[in-house]
Amino acid sequence: MTTTARTAAEATGSGPTGEPAVAVRDLHQRYGDFEAVKGVSFEIHPGELFALLGTNGAGKTTTIETLEGFRRPSSGTVRVFGRDPHGQPSGVRERTNAVLQGSALMEDLSVRESLDLAYDLAADPRPTGEVLELVGLADKAKVLVRQLSGGQKRRLDLALALLTRPEVLYLDEPTTGMDAEGRIDTWRIIQGLKDEGTAVLLTTHYLEEAERLADRLAIMHRGEVGVEGTLEAVLSGWGDRVGFALAEDVRTADLPGLPGAELSVESRGDTLWVTYTVTGGDTELRAQHTVTALLEWASAHGTALRRLQVRGASLEDVFLQVADGAADLVGD
């Protein structure tokens, strides 16, 4: 029997200097002439969820597989608890786990048998009954895995990952195939893991999932990170939008120029839609300043701002911008 005793600092993965549980520095992954990952860097601290978003083939899974220890970096470094994870060395493998991109289950075992096996192989497992309750599969314990629905299989994938009490957890599209209730349950479980101090790396195609859970996020496209930062910083970098339908008696040339705001006009059916995208400055008040200026302008010119809208940028706006290859337009 092997026993690994750890100090409090080691247990959280953070030493006195607050070292990250996961550190990726200038990671490159090349396969022949094809470069799947081009200089990706990020850190994940205990209790933090870092979301890695991106289009299909952006390099997210390759990055996760490198962290899981299946691929050696072409260049750059990855560290988990300060160690190279390649080959899953002892001391790292017992403290990490993952939900893989696809369901990874033995179809001829029952739910209970699958969890019992994981329990008996693990170094410091949670009780299987607790995990079954947590993922909502307690009433399916005796059911063969092959008889579960796609969403129930994803719940079991998550249960197997939770069972080993990972300090670092990689979640590769964990809610794909789940219904809305399953997704919300999963978000609650992930939030609970964060509260326990687990460092989580999440990839997802559900942007709402990242918005709800991520402390920080990065959006990848063609192997590169287009945008990275906290959700608030990413969205504020993209700016607030003030829009209205242009009155028929106003020419576009008459629209005012406003400091810190970029004007665009597009045709929507029979009307012209005006959008002022406000970036920089005081992120708390910049939308208000723009609206005030526009109202003053409208009053002075005796016109109306019809269907006036004010909204912040959504993650989808940023995502699509990165996917279109215009990431450089978006600040951190």
């Binding site: 026993t3 597989e65 002892s90 990874a104 289950l105």
Partner: protein
């Protein structure tokens, strides 16, 4: 953000205990897989066929049919190791199951140990079944050296399971794994010396063929059963003392250990865990 977590002491169950636990699940799965029963039935079928051979006595008390059957007992793990192991590990790789074991902290030796364990268990059960159901009613006696018989099954199980695992990178589905494994399995079966006695080959050729991994376990089982030094051919073999038989068996054991070392390196170097190609 939370940065405090309770201090945990992680007690690993230990490799041997994990291997035994995984072998237990492999046993459950084997019983539930229809294809696995086919691989188990193959040596029983070949053993039955072997008994149909002429009953000319080769060594004292053992006819040609019995000697052939005993050699089949020695390579029971050939069908199970190359058939079952390559089959299930290919399908598990494609289903991400192997990868999940790895990311869950299960080490490679444990994962491979579990499948070697179940091949060993079912090979032993099949050998016992053949001995009890077929040999004993025909007047056959128990093996003169049960330990050597056990060594034949144990070493054979390791060699052929590793060989089955080494084949998995060549297949993308369990069906193609069966096809990929069938040709070398049949070559090894017919070259084992049980079906076609090797002593009729020229000496140089016989010595080279003797290096094939299916020959030593078959000869070990024949020697274990008869107490005769059948290594190099049963015709004219001499009866040996307990230690004398083990001394005669050493080269065969060395060949199997060499194969185990070679195949373990090949599996370590070439085994593919991930179905995803870059």
């Amino acid at each position: 953000m939370t940065t405090a977590a309770p201090v945990r002491t992680r007690r690993s169950p230990g490799t041997a205990r994990q291997v035994l636990r995984l072998t237990r699940t492999e046993f459950t799965l084997f019983v539930r897989y229809k294809t696995a029963w086919m691989f188990l039935a193959l040596p029983l079928f070949f053993a039955f066929i072997a008994l149909q051979q002429p009953d000319d006595e080769i060594v004292a008390g053992f006819g040609m049919g019995e000697m052939t059957m005993i050699s089949v007992m020695g390579i029971t793990s050939l069908m199970l190791g190359m058939g079952h192991a390559s089959n299930v590990f290919t399908s598990r790789r494609e289903a991400l199951v192997l990868k999940r074991f790895r990311v869950s902290g299960v080490s490679q030796p444990v994962i491979f140990g579990g499948i070697i364990g179940v091949v060993t268990v079912f090979s032993l059960l099949a050998v016992l079944l053949m001995a009890l159901v077929i040999l004993v009613p025909l007047g056959g006696s128990p093996p003169r050296d049960p330990l050597m018989a056990l060594a034949s099954v144990l070493l054979g199980s390791v060699v052929f399971t590793l060989m089955g695992l080494a084949l998995t990178p060549l297949a993308r589905t369990s069906e193609s794994a069966q096809l990929v494994g069938m040709v070398p399995m049949m070559i090894l079966f017919f070259a084992s010396g049980g079906v076609f006695p090797l002593e009729f080959l020229p000496e140089d050729v016989r010595q080279v063929v003797g290096l094939i991994p299916s020959v030593p376990p078959a000869e070990l089982m024949q020697a274990a059963y008869t107490g005769y030094d059948v290594f190099g051919g049963a015709t004219g073999a001499e009866e040996k003392s307990y230690l004398g038989l083990w001394a005669a068996a050493l080269p065969s054991i060395a060949i199997m250990l060499a194969w185990i070392a070679l195949l373990a390196l090949a599996v370590r170097r070439f085994f593919v865990w991930d179905p995803r190609k870059p």
